[in-house]
């Protein structure tokens, strides 16, 4: 008797949980679905406000339009290149610095760690950083999107901590076999850190793809714009007179809703395509919380 009552309560509870999560998921997925299917709808259908989720006459017009000039493709190409080059620089710089710092016996290591930790809690801010980038002559160059953020202190500390976990015996025996420090790093430490490095590659790469502020600050030439800055120009500013900057550098007519949606889809596609691979790593590798030296 009690058992049936209990399982009845269980069923009600389970139903509530599944219904709640199911609705949250649907609500969370709706915007993405709407944007994707809207990009295939005709201008007329969207303008008549009849469009909900399935376009009645699916068309590629929006995609034809955005690829009719090379503005979007150029920006995508540039962003892909900055992402690849930037991520390589990030990984090389981070690993090169993390490895010596992971060696506890290294004289002077403590002071370097103080300096790195300090940058975690304090920075010069937007304007002084801009002045430094300008002083070293990087304005309007793609290096400005790569060098000022070459190492994330947060990632550096995490990589260093990961390297420290590698058994000292392995390092010692490699040294006895005649390996120098460069060899130990490339033949022992890095291969053993593959899963961790995959996670950091992902974080760095997504960061480059999504970067907006640095491109806004350091690239004045609109021909050099990366995808996020171009996206702002097409999707957010081109609303027809709501922003005070709407007149800034606009050379084209106000794009239709389906064109805006198509631009959002294209510029997000690389992230979505990589998402299944990324998922494998980030769930294992959540590294929030303590980053003690």
């Amino acid at each position: 008797m009690i058992k049936t009552r209990k399982s009845y309560g269980n069923m009600v509870f389970d139903t509530i949980v599944y219904v709640l999560l199911g609705s949250i998921t649907l609500i969370a997925f709706f915007p993405i679905l709407y944007i994707v299917s809207g990009s295939f709808a005709s201008v007329k259908e969207l303008a008549m406000n009849r469009f909900l989720l399935i376009p009645k006459e699916p068309t590629l017009d929006a995609y034809r339009y955005i690829f009719s000039t090379n503005t979007l493709m150029r920006s995508m190409r540039v962003t892909v290149m900055v992402t690849i080059a930037g991520t390589v620089v990030n990984l090389v710089m981070t690993c090169l610095m993390a490895y010596p710092l992971s060696r506890k016996e290294l004289p002077g290591r403590k002071y370097l760690m103080y300096a790195v930790t300090f940058t975690l809690v304090f920075n010069g801010g937007m304007i002084p950083t801009y002045l430094v980038v300008k002083a070293v002559g990087l304005i309007d160059s793609y290096a400005a999107l790569i060098l000022p953020g070459a190492i994330s202190s947060f990632n550096l500390v995490l990589v260093k901590n990961f390297f420290q976990e590698i058994p000292q015996d392995l390092i010692d025996s490699a040294r006895i076999d005649g390996c120098n420090e460069v060899g130990i790093l490339t033949k022992i430490v890095l291969p053993l850190s593959k899963p961790a490095l995959a996670t950091f590659t992902m974080f760095y790469a997504v960061g480059h793809w999504n970067t907006f502020l640095t491109a806004l600050l350091y690239l004045n030439d609109s021909k050099k714009w990366t995808i996020q800055v171009l996206l702002r120009q097409i999707v957010i500013l081109a609303q027809g007179g709501i922003g005070d900057e709407a007149s800034m550098g606009m050379q084209f007519v106000i794009p239709s809703q389906s064109v805006k949606m198509a631009v959002i889809v294209v510029s997000t596609l690389p992230i979505v395509l990589c998402y299944p691979f990324m998922q494998k790593y980030f769930e294992k590798g959540v590294m929030v919380g303590s980053i003690k030296g």
């Binding site: 949980v17 999560l21 010596p100 370097l112 809690v121 793809w209 922003g243």
Partner: protein, 304 residues
């Protein structure tokens, strides 16, 4: 003498390690500590044509100007209001999702939910704001249009001061709830299953189990995350604020970062905006250090 030589030998034996450090140290010197020296500009009347050293010292002039300007209270108010709205409405969401996911036994359902709710974290703020613009535009956005047909009238979500904060918090909830739940799920994975068995024998129902076992088990994680957030109440996120900002909502959407950008790089008041930025960085530093202390006081590891 001999000691010195030994020291030298010791350092030389690490030669390769030091060589490896060179690129990183150069990077930190130029791009991390360079700007910190550049903060001196806040105490000078920095003129690009005079250069850094020849510009005249003005002491605290720009700080006084900022603190007596009416923008100061507005920026501080906007920043803190947004942070506390996020604490009140966003912060509980990841915990809620984690608690719900923890009750799901069906693994394909769990994976599907997780895949969907984690995804927005990887989208840029420009994309998030762009999606909001398409959904909420008065020019036929599906949500504006739907509400109009339901008799709510024409609501201007994007260009009215009243809707700016709710929109910003909603975007944040959509973007970060799933991602934020991962840390709580990790904490939940460590809860001892026997506790639930014992509770079941004592006649506790599922809701009571959550209340008396699950929640206490992740209490420390919740407190740590809360303290961590408190340490960052001065941060509003430039990308989101800047992209959501327009002439109609500037009174409520202007925060320190957008103000520094506008004053410094659009209006060219480099010294003044450096002073504003320095104030924000210092306030942030104090908050983070206090949060770290607090976190250690309640028996946690601390952030640093």
């Amino acid at each position: 003498m001999k000691g010195q030589k030994n020291n030298w030998n010791r350092i030389m034996s690490y030669k390769w390690l030091y060589i490896m450090l060179i690129p990183g140290m150069l990077y930190y010197a130029v791009f991390r500590f360079g700007p910190m020296f550049g903060l001196i500009a806040a105490f000078k009347n920095y003129q690009p044509f005079l250069g850094f050293f020849d510009s005249e010292w003005v002491g605290l002039k720009y700080f006084i100007r900022f603190f007596t300007d009416k923008s100061f209270m507005r920026l501080l108010g906007n920043t803190l209001t947004l942070s506390f709205l996020n604490l009140a409405f966003f912060f509980p969401m990841p915990i809620l999702i984690a608690l719900l996911l923890n009750e799901v036994k069906c693994s394909w359902f769990k994976r599907t939910v997780q895949s969907v709710v984690y995804l927005p974290h990887f989208l840029s703020w420009v994309v998030i704001v762009g999606i909001s613009y398409t959904l909420f535009t008065t020019d036929g956005g599906i949500i504006t249009e739907g509400l109009k047909r339901l008799g709510f009238g024409q609501i201007n979500f994007l260009a009215s001061p009243g809707w700016f904060r709710p929109m910003a918090v909603m975007q944040n909830i959509w973007k970060e709830t799933g991602w934020g739940s991962i840390i709580f799920l990790a904490a939940l994975a460590g809860v001892n299953v026997e506790m639930y068995e014992a509770a079941k024998l004592d006649g506790a129902n599922r809701f009571q189990q959550i209340l008396y076992i699950t929640l206490p088990a992740i209490k420390t994680t919740i407190i740590t995350m809360l303290i961590l957030r408190l340490g960052h109440v001065m941060e509003s996120g430039f990308d989101q604020m800047y992209n959501m900002q327009n002439a109609m909502n500037r009174d409520v959407s202007d925060v320190f970062d957008t103000y520094v950008y506008r004053m410094g790089l659009v209006n060219g008041q480099l010294s003044y905006s450096t002073a504003v930025g320095l104030f924000k960085s210092l306030a942030g530093l104090i908050l983070v250090l206090s949060a770290d202390k607090l976190s250690k006081k309640v028996g946690e590891e601390g952030i640093l």
